[in-house]
Every structure is written in structure tokens, then in C-alpha cells.
Subunit: 154 residues, 2 copies
DNA sequence: CAGTTCACGATATAGCGTATCGTTCATGGC
DNA sequence: GCCATGAACGATACGCTATATCGTGAACTG
């Protein structure tokens, strides 16, 4: 992510928090920035390490987890359950409504793409689930894929 | 799972291994049995504990992991990535071909149902993914839901 | 400016998983 | 039957992920 877009996204995140009456502190901003700048999802401990390199001060893992919890509650960050890693929401600076996030995770390079699946497909899926007697609560799907580059290389 | 079905399923699993030239040892049988008898998915360490209670002998966590790896390779067991737990395949004793497993996980009681999603939906999903420049490799989906009972109770 | 709430630090601990090396046991060729 | 081979398993150590708890300090509010 280039500098201009990074700045714009961070500003948008700050605005988002102000609207929600929550605090977008320096540390929270730093963690979000690290995730925005990373090509791949990061674990909490990786974030702590990167924090040290990028900002010259250490941060306890506990704080990273707390900050991640906060950022997830604000839907600025998503957790990838299958990898125990975290990724910045790709739609912070977008205007359109935040959809249910779906993730394509490249198995080789770990690159993650957050996509909006056709709502009709999700609806069909939800239908099948209802028929099985269940009720969908958090339709976040994590799909393990190969990205174009890794697919071509194999 | 009742005794008759349990026995039949274990026999089917043994047959499956014989056909594949692999060994269905006592310990592997025990682990599979524990998973078949459990209402909820279990972690490796939970399995080790249950093993002790059920069979009166301790088993190291390492062995549990190795046995789980084996059972997964034989598609007798599936791992739920989002929960780091394991569940017996519900189709061991079925005649029909083993499909790509999709899991409905009840967020409240942890009960898991393994369902076959309409292939056309999966195909549509794969289509969307292709359009995003990715290639689906392991279309295992884990959906967080509420089961009928927990849904009614809420 | 006093009180409350929120953010953060420090420490401890639990749970999940892998690495490595050694030992035992089953199996097949002789 | 006997031994060589490889598979299964045990023991120990370690690293990563996450939560619990308690304390401190900063920020907002009346």
C-alpha cells in the first residue's frame, strides 16, 4: 500500500472511531498501520516484533491482543481463524457498505484477498444450512486457494 | 452413537485401512472410537485425557497428534481449523462417495454437523474465486451457526 | 479537580503443535 | 524360524497462540 492510500485509510479509520465514540490511540493506529502495510496476514507476536522494528519501542503481546480485539470490534481488522493471523480490512477507505467478509488465502505465499461473494450464493448456502436445521450466524468463509502468481509458477 | 453403529463404523474403518494397505492399530481404533462417541469435536489434549478415562492407560500427546494425522490422511477424521479440534468423519459407514466436507459448527454447544453442500453452489463459489484470480484447492468450509436446539433456546 | 472509566503494562499460566531422538513392534524375504 | 527393514510409538524439549489477573496511569466527565 502506497503512502497516500495508507494515510487516507488511517484517517478514515480515525473518523470511524470518532463516529463510534471510541479512541483511536497511537498504539492502535500503529498496529493498524503495520497490518495495512503487510502483504500477508500477521500473528499477534509477529506484530509485536514488527512494532519494535518500525517504531523503535517494544510492545507487550498482551497489548497487541487487546488492540487487535478493539480493531476487530470496529471491523477495521479481521481474524483468519484457520491461520490464527490477522489482516486489515480492505474496505476501510471504501464508501460502500461493509459486507460479510470472505477470504481467499493463498496456501503458498499466504497472500490474502478479501472478496465480496455474490449475495445470491451466500443466500443459497444459508438456505442449505437452514434445511440442515442450523442457522448461520457469522458467514465468514476462509477458502484455501492458490493465487494467480503461485498457480502459474506451479 | 449407539453400540451397533459404533461397531459397524469401526469395522468399516478397519476394512478401509486394509484396502489401503495401512494399519488400523488398537490405539488408532481407540482414538477414532473416542471421536465417534463424542457429541462435540475434541482437541488432541482432550483426546489424551479421555483416552485415560476410557481405556485406563495414558497416551502421550505426541502419539495423539500422530494418530490424528494418520486418521486424517485416511479421511476417517477431519480437523476443524477454526477451533483446532478434530471430529470423526460422519460418512465412514456410508456407501456413497466421500464428498468435500463442509461443517456447520454450533457456536453455543459446539455440536458439529457435516453436510454435503449442493455441488452447484460450490461450483458457483469456485467460479467467483476464479474471477478474483484465485484457484480453489481445498474447498473445506467451516460455518459458524446455531443448531436448532440452541437457536430455539435463545 | 475529583471521580470514573478506559488504555496499557507486567506477570503468570493454559492450550495447541512441532522437532528430535530413541525404542518397540509388526511384517516380509530368506 | 530368523533377521533386516520400516512403521508405530514413547519421551523430552521447545515454540507459538491466547487468556487471566492485577496494577498503574492517562483521559474524559461532571
Amino acid at each position: 500500500m502506497n503512502k497516500a492510500k495508507l494515510k487516507k485509510t488511517l484517517n478514515r479509520a480515525e473518523e470511524h472511531c470518532r463516529e463510534h465514540g471510541t479512541r483511536f490511540t497511537e498504539k492502535r493506529k500503529h498496529i493498524l498501520q503495520l497490518l495495512l502495510q503487510s502483504e500477508v496476514p500477521l500473528s499477534a507476536y509477529e506484530l509485536a516484533t514488527h512494532y519494535q522494528s518500525a517504531f523503535g519501542e517494544t510492545i507487550p503481546a498482551m497489548s497487541v491482543y487487546r488492540i487487535l480485539d478493539f480493531l476487530m470490534a470496529e471491523t477495521l481488522v479481521h481474524k483468519l481463524n484457520s491461520a490464527n493471523k490477522y489482516t486489515a480490512c480492505e474496505h476501510i477507505a471504501c464508501d460502500h457498505q461493509h459486507e460479510v467478509p470472505q477470504f481467499l488465502i493463498c496456501e503458498r505465499c499466504q497472500n490474502v484477498k478479501e472478496v465480496g461473494i455474490e449475495p445470491s450464493i451466500i443466500a443459497a448456502l444459508a438456505d442449505e444450512i437452514e434445511r440442515a436445521g442450523y442457522h448461520l450466524t457469522q458467514p465468514q468463509i476462509e477458502l484455501h486457494c492458490l493465487c494467480e502468481r503461485c498457480f502459474s509458477a506451479s
